[in-house]
């Protein structure tokens, strides 16, 4: 029985880095190739030696598909393609392809800033990797090779994020990547066809959460920023160059406009222009509202947000600054934080998750005294706020997607084990399908029952109709008899006569024979007659003849009797039948093996 195998190398019962191997119809596909920012050594990347040893990735993998530009989904890609060595096709959407290098460069900067980092890639490697990428359009079926096809669907989450439908023959898998089922300020909601995949591999970050409306969080965010500005404080928002930053920029820009606020808003990295350029370029990937208003006013052309110069940090008065990197690892965001941390009027808003080993992580956990160079400590007096703006489907959203796609099996990744366990129970209960949640390194094998499409000859169909059967109906399957011809890669069911003709073969009759020993104290002719009588009483409605040549015929089955030379009572019955009567022949031999009824 064919099967699909899924092995997470990352994102199996964790949210560290996504890297999932799928084997389907003899094809091997890698879904996402992420990195874990919490490690400084090789452990940050998936261990590709488990895929195949000695760097034979190109021979093993048929393709790599990247769902979106977040580093926990694409951060290991240049390492894999340029350092481990993978030369095959890599698929991602157009926006992901454009934005990915920016974030990879952002990450490279962090690694250079830290000392003792090993195995980081160069800019040239990022570029060479990107040159191998084949861009995907939404809803366009891409033929990877003769058998494997993929199709991208809108996933929300971030600009360019896609879910992907993978099909080999009649087997299929959908991988969601990260997705969001509710539209936000600049992106729409995820959507997929009722494609009924054999497995739906879904993220489950918020597996047990029903998230409050994003509007509430946005209101809260604006309120906090406004209060801080009103009391003359400075607000620092550490962000990664692209993604959440743009969402928050739209939010502040609109608010500033509405409230007629004068305090400056700065974006520190010099990436505003570039980031916004991509949002403008890929306007079709944003939500309906942004697309509609685009003609009158492009939401990404910010009036209030200006480029930041490091000298502004010392300027008196309130201001809002977006600075990279997002976890206060190093660089500009950290430098500004150090300057502003001592003033309780100031505020830092962390709009996302921070890994251990960063200042962002420490302050989110409530640490108020931070160790600095030269045995100094930094008193964190400024207000620290955490507001998750990440756009993931919550428990309700995940169930909604299952209803949309109607999968035969469900597989959860990108979540915590305990939360997955809870959702798994709910899914199995509500949809009566199997739900899996493999740990990293564990393989889930799902048996599939693929339907193989077969062409049918018109003659055979006409003959079937002539027999008075109902008209063909896809909802009412029924069995048909004919000869299956495999020609090149197509299958065709035809009548046996047509098959002989098409294949240029001669017809041969095939007969089966068998010998049945029987103890019967009568002459051979009497025994034969007894057989005739016995069968006549047993088989109503069959043509049974006792022929003068000493045989009994039941349809095409011929029965003869002979006795052994040593023992006249020991008879040997010879049965012979054509292959069309195989069932009846087998039945008769089993009947006669039991002996004849006593007189």
């Amino acid at each position: 029985m064919p099967e699909i195998k899924v092995t997470p190398l990352g994102a199996g019962q964790d949210v560290g880095r996504s890297c999932i191997l799928v084997s389907i119809g003899g094809k091997n596909i890698m879904l996402d190739c992420g990195m874990h920012m919490g490690y400084n050594d090789d452990r940050r990347f998936p261990d590709f030696s488990y895929v195949t040893q000695n760097g034979r990735l190109t021979d093993f993998l048929d393709c790599v598909i990247i769902s979106h530009f977040h580093l926990d989904h694409c951060g290991a890609l240049p390492y894999m393609s340029e350092m481990v060595g993978y030369d095959g096709p890599i698929y991602m959407t157009h926006p992901t392809k454009a934005i990915c290098p920016i974030l990879l460069e952002d990450f490279r900067k962090i690694t250079v800033d830290k000392k003792g980092e090993t195995n980081f890639f160069t800019s040239q490697m990022i570029k060479d990797c990107m040159k191998k990428v084949v861009p995907l359009n939404l809803h366009q079926t891409v033929q990877v090779d003769d058998e494997l096809e993929i199709k991208a669907y809108y996933a929300g989450h971030v600009l360019g994020a896609a879910m992907v439908y993978i099909k080999v023959g009649s087997e299929s898998v959908v991988y969601t990547g990260d997705y969001n089922m509710t539209p936000d300020r600049h992106l729409g909601a995820a959507w997929i066809d009722k494609c009924r995949p054999d497995i739906l591999i879904s993220e489950s970050t918020y597996a047990t959460t029903i998230r409050d409306s994003k509007r509430c969080r946005e209101r809260d965010f604006l309120k906090k920023v406004h209060e801080s500005i009103e009391r003359g404080g400075k607000v620092l928002i550490p962000v990664f160059a692209l993604g959440r930053a743009q969402e928050l920029c739209i939010l502040l820009e609109t608010f500033w406009e509405r409230m007629n606020l004068k305090a400056p808003i700065y974006f520190s990295t010099g990436m505003t222009e570039k980031a916004n350029h991509y949002y403008k370029l890929f306007i079709t990937w944003t939500n309906q509202k942004i697309r509609k208003t685009f003609v009158q006013r492009n939401m990404f052309e910010f009036k209030h947000i200006k480029a930041f110069d490091r000298s502004y940090a010392d300027n008196p008065g309130p201001m809002v600054v977006f600075a990279t990197p997002g976890m206060l690892h190093a660089g500009q965001s950290l430098q500004i934080f150090k300057k502003w941390a001592g003033n309780e009027k100031n505020m830092v808003i962390m709009p996302g998750y921070c890994v251990q080993g960063t200042i962002g992580h420490k302050i989110l956990n409530g640490q108020r005294k931070l160790e600095m160079e030269g045995r100094a400590t930094l008193d964190v007096k400024l207000q620290v706020e955490y507001m998750s703006f990440s756009a993931h489907a919550d428990a309700k959203g995940i169930m909604q997607l299952i209803r949309m796609a109607e999968p035969r099996n469900m597989l959860l990744v990108h979540g915590e084990a305990a939360k997955m366990e809870f959702l798994k129970g709910k899914i199995e209960q509500e949809f009566s399908i199997d739900c899996y949640m493999p740990a990293n390194g564990e393989t889930v094998t799902v048996k599939t029952n693929p339907s193989v499409p077969v062409d049918m000859s018109v003659n055979l169909l006409k003959r079937e109709m002539a027999l008075g059967g109902p008209l063909p109906d896809p909802k009412k399957p029924r069995s048909m008899h004919g000869t299956l011809i495999m020609k090149e890669s197509s299958l065709k069911l035809v009548s046996s006569e047509q098959a002989l003709k098409e294949l240029g073969l001669n017809e041969h009759q095939l007969r089966f024979t068998c010998r049945v020993p029987l103890q019967d104290p009568h002459s051979d002719s009497e025994t034969l007659h007894r057989i005739y009588t016995h069968l006549k009483s047993l088989l109503k409605g069959y043509t049974i003849q006792h022929l003068p040549d000493g045989t009994v015929m039941v349809e095409s089955i011929v029965i003869k009797v002979s006795s052994s030379a040593e023992d006249a009572n020991a008879k040997i019955l010879l049965l012979s039948w054509s292959y069309q009567d195989e069932d009846l022949g087998s039945f008769l031999s089993s009947v006669l093996k039991k002996g004849l009824p006593k007189m």
């Binding site: 560290g16 040159k131 890994v355 251990q356 080993g357 420490k362 956990n365 993931h392």
Partner: protein, 872 residues
């Protein structure tokens, strides 16, 4: 161990041992273990310094409520503690080890089902096996049985760790194996195991140990053969283990293993399972790898196995086996030649060229191979394997290789033509197979790569024209995807690079190349434009080649008609919408110009215009890649010019570059700006006393008793130094260094700090004995603004600066005072460390664990928003 850490650890242990403990993130436990491992490797007893660990292990191991991740951590820690004999004894005294390493204990609570507990068990146990008692414990606990079971575990990670531990156990106990003479210890296996742990000093022979070894070997022997096809996975795992053992074993163990496992191995090889070809070859090659130079004849069992593998019925498996053997590079000429023939066979069939004339072994396989090549999937796969390995065949000794390298090149070219339909299939070739490769991108990419690699084979230069012709056709073809075009360019550069004589390239070919490069430079796809621009750069960087008139010429000039074609294309590419292409264009321009720079040729008007454009790019380009490339351009120019000061255009540009580069937002542009500043300093100060070129830290101290004519030296050099400094200040160098010093990006600050220290040394050594008049020389002063980094410097300097009379916002400072007041050495010390050295330290980790636990408790009581691990 840091005293603070020791004091924090007991509380951390309490937090971790508590049920439902909350951790900072999923990396914390591994990082904690890293720290313990480092500590334990330094030779100090973990338990002695941290007695709380014993209580922690004991609590977790006997707890019914501990989470599997904590149990896994505790098991690994147990192994680490018990790896030292005192730790082992202490844990054994409390029966902790019996409990921790008893799988049944974990099974009772269903925890064994969690792969992380099984991993913890294996890794803990494996780490512990450092001494005799630990090994005896392993033997007596009969732990070999669960370990063998784990070798075919459902988790890849568990199975792999179990295999590694089994190999480790076998290496430890092999000298005791019955019939294995203890004196006959292999050098290789006695050194260290795969886990990097040292083998126990002494392990006494006893029956139990021998039983363990026997059990492993029996396991290998009995489980190797699959009874049905569903057991193939198990056989694969066994073969992986065997390969792992053989790769670590010395000759003695190897020979005995092969002898012991001969029967199942031979049977397995004969069974012809395709799925086992690769693992079987790994076993054979691992055994081969342990053959030492002094062993003249390889093991006959090994030879036999290899022969069978190379004569398998299924062509697909045979070609895999041949590829694996060829890759291993062993000095076994018979099998090497055979492998070469196997790999060339599909090429011969498909192209119809004679590559294997009169080879009898191949004839037997030909029909089967032809049949297999009819299937599209296996055809493409086999051709690709063949292409990947044929360059190695051409490097074989002439008497060993089946045909001359030029014929192989011809075959690859023929294949590439067939793929594109550029030539009809040969009558000798198989037409059905031809259909399979037509249009296959995979085959074409492999073939182009093979063609590139074949350029370094001997006797192939005769094929240059043919290669050239085909590659131009490929570059021209509308069906070529960006990767194919990139590979075609790469192949072209490779061939031009190795062929010193390009006289055979006809004018028509040169014209064709020029046309196609022009066409591809304006391709719609940025990837293609970038590869084209990169090609032009690589071509310019190639060494001079010989031409038909016998002279030497630059390849780019000879093939593309020189700068009149290349430069306009590259200048055009400076305006490309894609920043990668703009950056490549700048780099290619630098490569194109290098020759004229080296000769000190006066820049033409066109070159001056390029410089203007580049400076414009530096100030206006929105992307870092392009701006970085501009900096690199000026660095190359500066470093390749014989006398920079004689080129006013260069010196003028350098000032603008320094000014703009140091104010850039991209950290790499700033680092490159400092690289350029370093070149300026080298030029200005080289030869000055106290200045050392390129030495990153402190300059060499003069010998204390060295006799130096200080007076004369100072007199002759003083004025030069001040002039040089004055020149540098005017160029803006000091601003670049000072602004870099206060930059938020560590590499920028570090580079600037190192350069300032060098400046400081040269200045101080010169001025320390000078008169006051010299010290107050106006050339030793510079001006600072009151904003940004300058303000930071003013803060550091305090009141010692003096305000400028004309501009109150500007202060004038003495450079000598400045460089001494900045406390550069201390700053260097800080900058040399990782930017996260505080926050990624063990102490920080311990604090984070404690804070996370407190925060978790607070969240529970105040219902604060939970920080959910999501994405970045």
């Amino acid at each position: 161990m840091d005293g603070d850490c020791v004091s924090l650890l007991p509380r951390v242990c309490d937090v971790l041992a508590a049920p439902r403990s909350s951790l900072p993130d999923d990396t914390s436990l591994e990082k904690l273990l890293d720290w313990f491992t480092t500590f334990s490797k330094s030779g100090v007893s973990l338990l002695e310094v941290n007695p709380c660990l014993q209580g922690f292990i004991s609590t977790v191991v006997s707890s019914r409520a501990a989470e599997s991740s904590i149990i896994s951590f505790a098991l690994k820690l147990t192994g680490l503690v018990a790896a030292a004999e005192d730790g082992f004894r202490a844990l054994q005294a409390n029966s902790v080890l019996d409990l921790a390493f008893n799988p049944q204990h974990w099974r009772e609570d269903g925890l064994w089902d969690d792969p992380c507990v099984r991993i913890g068990w294996i890794q803990g146990f494996s780490t512990m096996l450092q001494h005799r008692q630990a090994f005896s414990f392993f033997v007596q606990a009969d732990s070999i049985k669960p370990l063998l079971q784990l070798q075919t575990d459902t988790s890849l990670f568990v199975a792999s760790a179990a295999s590694q531990m089994l190999a480790h156990v076998l290496m430890l106990s092999h000298p005791l194996l019955s019939g294995f003479n203890g004196k006959e210890v292999d050098d290789k296996s006695s050194s260290s195991s795969i886990t990097g742990l040292m083998r126990p000093a002494v392990i006494e022979a006893d029956q139990d140990v021998a039983a363990v070894v026997t059990e492993i070997l029996e396991y290998l022997k009995t489980r190797m053969l699959p009874k049905e096809s569903s057991q193939l996975h198990q056989s694969q795992q066994i073969l992986k283990l065997l390969a792992l053992i053989l790769s670590q074993a010395g000759p003695s163990l190897r020979d005995k293993l092969l002898l012991f496992l001969r029967e199942p191995l031979e049977e397995l090889v004969a069974l012809n399972y395709s799925q086992l070809t690769r693992p079987l070859m790994d076993v054979i090659l691992a055994a081969y790898s342990s053959i030492r130079g002094d062993e003249k004849v390889p093991d006959p069992i090994l030879c036999h196995l290899l022969s069978v593998m190379l004569n398998q019925r299924k062509p697909f498996d045979r070609i895999h086996a041949a590829a694996a053997f060829l890759c291993s590079g062993h000095d076994n000429q018979i099998h090497m030649a055979q492998s070469a023939c196997i790999l060339l066979l599909p090429m011969e069939i498909i192209t119809g060229l004679t590559l294997l004339e009169g080879n009898s072994t191949v004839k037997e396989h030909r029909l089967l191979m032809m049949e297999q090549l009819q299937s599209k999937i296996s055809c493409i796969s086999m051709i690709c394997i063949s292409l990947k390995h044929i360059p190695k065949i051409t490097l074989m000794a002439p008497d060993c290789r089946p045909c001359p390298p030029a014929v192989v090149v011809a075959a690859v070219l023929a294949l590439l033509r067939l793929c594109r339909g550029l030539s009809p299939p040969s009558l000798n070739g198989c037409v059905a197979v031809f259909r399979n490769v037509t249009g296959s991108g995979k085959v074409q990419k492999c073939a182009l790569e093979a063609l590139s690699a074949l350029s370094s084979s001997s006797e192939v230069s005769v094929m240059l024209v043919e290669v050239f012709t085909l590659l131009i056709e490929y570059l021209n073809h509308p069906d070529s995807d960006p990767t194919m075009l990139q590979k075609s360019y790469q192949a072209l550069v490779q061939w031009i690079g190795v062929c010193s004589n390009l006289s055979s390239i006809t004018n028509q070919l040169k014209e064709d190349l020029t046309q196609v490069v022009r066409k591809r430079a304006c391709d719609m796809r940025w990837e293609v434009r970038d590869s084209t621009v990169e090609f032009l750069g690589h071509l310019a960087g190639l060494p001079a080649c010989r031409t038909e008139v016998g002279g030497a010429c630059n390849a780019a000039e000879y093939l593309l008609g020189g700068c009149c074609v290349t430069t306009p294309l590259l200048v055009e590419a400076l305006h490309d919408p894609e920043s990668y292409v703009r950056a490549s264009a700048v780099s290619a321009l630098a490569q194109t110009m290098t020759h004229s720079w080296q000769e000190g040729v006066v820049p033409t008007k066109e070159q001056a215009e390029i410089v203007t454009q580049l400076l414009e790019m530096l100030s206006q380009d929105t992307e870092g890649f392009a701006r970085r490339a501009v900096l690199q351009y000026f660095i190359t120019w500066f470093s390749s010019h014989p006398s920079c000061t004689s080129s006013p255009l260069l010196m003028q540009s350098v000032r603008s570059v320094l000014l703009q580069g140091s104010a850039d937002l991209d950290w790499e542009v700033k680092v490159h700006t400092l690289d350029l500043a370093e070149l300026l300093m080298d030029q200005a100060f080289l030869g000055q006393h106290g200045y050392t070129k390129g030495l990153e830290s402190h300059p060499a101290q003069p010998h204390p008793y060295a006799a130096t004519a200080k007076q004369a030296y100072t007199l002759t050099q003083r004025s030069d130094l001040l002039c040089a400094l004055d020149g540098l200040v005017k160029q803006g160098l000091l601003s670049v260094l000072l602004s870099g010093l206060f930059d938020c990006d560590r590499p920028v600050g570090l580079k600037a700090c190192r350069l300032l220290i060098r400046l400081k040394h040269v200045l101080l050594l010169k001025t320390q004995d000078e008169s006051d008049a010299v010290k107050t020389d106006p050339r030793l002063y510079c001006e600072l603004l009151s904003q940004g980094w300058a303000q930071e410097i003013r803060n550091v300097l305090g009141t010692e600066d003096r305000s400028n009379e004309t501009d109150p916002h500007t202060v004038t400072v003495n450079v000598c005072n400045l460089v001494t007041s900045l406390d550069l050495e201390e700053r260097l010390d800080v900058l040399t460390r990782s930017s996260d050295h505080f926050y990624n330290s063990p102490r920080s980790l311990l604090q984070d664990i404690l804070t996370a636990s407190a925060a978790h408790a607070q969240q529970d009581s105040q219902l604060k928003e939970e920080v959910i691990v999501d994405c970045y």
